[in-house]
């Protein structure tokens, strides 16, 4: 069966063999939304944004795991992936609200974030936006929950960040963001696929002036696939090394419609 619910600011679709497994998957996504939503004033992320510049904020294992992965990608990408810079932009462009107890951000660089134990500190008022990595993490959590329920196959798709598992591969099409026409297909087998495209004003985590229409990353988990789409977009010099290190591959659609694998010569469209 296949179900879809509006979560994480997109449509989360779960395909599995029983309604119990589907519910377990959605429950995991709802939990991550409750922890990491910048829109929810009661989320752990909002607590960090409101308080962590004044006092330590203790967070759940899940929030901590996402922040650790965000730290890894910030460091290894030479600052290209930065959830503090993204938060400042999202706030400035009113894509996320500033809650009543939340200070205006004075910082726009991830270096002000300190993780210690399960505690988060900010060296100054800042706004973190985990939109560039949390959807992927939520997909991974849903898959873990479904497997704990005994699922031997399933597909979780959070608006383009997806993971498919089971004995049979899942066929996924990637569409041209301008026409929504399918242009590529990929068979996924216990792996994640994430696509980021520059349309609909949802490019907060994508650097401006890029030369792709969309970027698709295949990786062992959706959290890394999600973050890597943004890094591939920004094209730091070590992008191929970062992909290799994560066991990931990437291709993108150029503005003229050509499809190119990152780190390989251009392919005929």
């Amino acid at each position: 069966m296949r179900r879809s619910r509006p979560l994480l600011g997109t449509y989360v679709e779960i395909t599995a063999d029983s309604s119990g497994i589907v519910e377990a998957g959605f429950a995991a996504v709802e939990r991550i939304q409750a922890l990491l939503s910048a829109h929810d004033p009661k989320s752990e992320l909002s607590r960090i944004n409101c308080l962590a510049h004044r006092q330590d904020v203790e967070v759940s294992a899940e929030t901590f795991a996402v922040l650790e992965r965000a730290t890894h990608w910030w460091r290894s990408s030479g600052g290209v992936f930065d959830v503090v810079a993204a938060g400042e932009r999202s706030l400035a462009e009113a894509r996320i609200p500033r809650h009543s107890a939340q200070p205006r951000p004075a910082e726009r660089d991830f270096r002000i974030v300190t993780l210690d134990g399960r505690k988060v500190q900010l060296a100054g008022p800042a706004c973190l936006d985990l939109g560039g990595i949390a959807k992927g993490y939520a997909v991974d959590e849903a898959v873990r929950a479904m497997r704990r329920c005994g699922a031997d196959r399933g597909l979780v798709n959070a608006g383009g960040d997806l993971y498919g598992f089971g004995a049979e591969p899942w066929s996924i099409v990637v569409v041209d963001p301008r026409t929504r026409r399918p242009v590529v297909d990929v068979l996924l087998h216990d792996e994640a696929l994430a696509t980021s495209a520059c349309i609909d004003g949802s490019s907060a985590h994508l650097p401006a002036g890029a030369d792709w229409l969309s970027v698709t990353v295949r990786a062992p988990n959706a959290c890394d696939a999600d973050a890597l789409t943004k890094i591939v977009w920004a094209a730091p010099a070590n992008v191929e090394e970062l992909l290799r290190g994560a066991g990931a591959h990437a291709f993108g659609i150029r503005p003229d419609g050509r499809i190119e694998e990152v780190g390989r010569p251009a392919l005929a469209a």
Partner: protein, 179 residues
């Protein structure tokens, strides 16, 4: 050297055929059974006057298109278990029918997408693409037929459904809360 892990679909194999087929997740009775197991449903459609629609739109900050709002009172034994509403919203690329379940006090108990239709786009007509499913696991619970397309694409915002739910909650407050 050709990439092996993804395949570029030949343009000729992809026939632009708008609108693309809808993805149907749940029928109305299936959604009712999922959201209120074992309950009875009494259809109670609300015919909205122009003035009412205007008031609802203004209070919700979201457009109200339909003159008739589909509503069911949900009964369990001899008491009211809540309300079940079916609504549709039009997004930038998509047309969505969804169901909203409310408890007897108007709190949201669940939202399920019933049908999602892309308003433009292509449809897979590539026989090779479909052939890969033929003969795999007969009788499998996951029906991998032409209707199932897993798309990784630009993130679609669910803002329109969020707006729709806000409008339905205003509709509930104005027209159902005191019934």
């Amino acid at each position: 050297m050709a990439a092996s892990w993804f395949r570029i679909l030949p343009a000729a194999a992809v026939v632009a055929a708008a609108p693309a087929a809808a993805t149907v997740y749940l029928s109305i009775p299936q959604a009712q059974a999922a959201l209120f197991p074992g309950a009875r449903f009494l259809e109670h459609p609300l015919t909205l006057s122009d003035a009412q629609r205007k008031m609802i739109s203004r209070a919700a900050g979201a457009p109200a298109y339909d003159k008739v709002q589909r509503v069911w009172e949900v009964r369990s034994g001899d008491r009211r278990a809540g309300w079940f509403m079916v609504d549709r919203v039009i997004g930038k690329h998509e047309f969505i029918t969804y169901a909203l379940a409310l408890g007897p006090d108007g709190t949201v108990r669940g939202i399920e997408i019933l049908e999602y239709r892309e308003t433009y786009g292509g449809e897979i007509r590539n026989p090779n693409w479909r052939r890969q499913f033929v003969g795999k696991k007969p009788g499998s619970a996951l029906r991998l037929d032409g209707d199932i397309r897993n798309i990784s694409g630009a993130t679609l915002s669910s803002r329109h459904v969020t707006d729709g739910v806000r409008r339905l909650l205003v509709t509930y407050q104005m027209l159902l809360a005191n019934i």
